[in-house]
Symmetry: C2
Amino acid sequence: MKLIASLAVVGTAFAMASPALAQFAKPEDAVKYRQSALFVMAQHFGRIGAMASGRAPYDAKAAIVNAELVAMISKLPWAGFGPGTDKVTPTRAKPEIWTESAKFKEGHEKLVTEAEKLLTAAKTNNLDNLKVAFGAMANTCKGCHDSFRKE
Amino acid sequence: MKLIASLAVVGTAFAMASPALAQFAKPEDAVKYRQSALFVMAQHFGRIGAMASGRAPYDAKAAIVNAELVAMISKLPWAGFGPGTDKVTPTRAKPEIWTESAKFKEGHEKLVTEAEKLLTAAKTNNLDNLKVAFGAMANTCKGCHDSFRKE
């Protein structure tokens, strides 16, 4: 609980500091940043997925560490979708990210919430809880990919 | 202090779970992972650098959030230098990473320590402390780049 409380503190500080965090030297850096953060997050999320699906043995400590990283990194990529970054090519980002920005924002805010729930689930040291939270977050990923990411 | 104590907990859990974290589907994923983590870390480190050098106004909260991310992410890239990843091209990784692995390990362990010191400095809310810790970590980055990264 102490750890979760601290994460909440970090989350709040992050939200307050987000204008300062949204600075990139050039749009290409913003694109590389969002792609990099999403890739690192996906790797750690995938390790939880391997446990959730039985492809890897359940390791409660590793699940927590991976969920901790997913929760932290889930907050990052969205700063990389700022003005001007829609002109950088090639990427798999659909124009709808910028034309339906309210829906996109709703999607990534949901992801951050699901990532927090995944961490909470991991901390119960219960594989069934982890499976449920993993599935919910995976659906959130997929929902946004279907709407906002090219094949 | 509570936050730093919690980070220590995460760090310990991370160290214990590192074999579980070192799994990649293929060497190319490991390379992309290490490059991605280093890029994200460099972006957040650079934002502290902008404050330390006066290119950006000092924002104590933003400094802490960025240092928090740097401290967390500084632990990650090294899992991506595992066996087989030296054969992936093109990268800027020099063969010395694998032929002088003890020196390389010493370097990245020093980086993690410097990143923790940077976070501690950021939390003092004192720009001079931040400058000193930033400089020390920047030197550590440079030391490894000089030895282990191609121009």
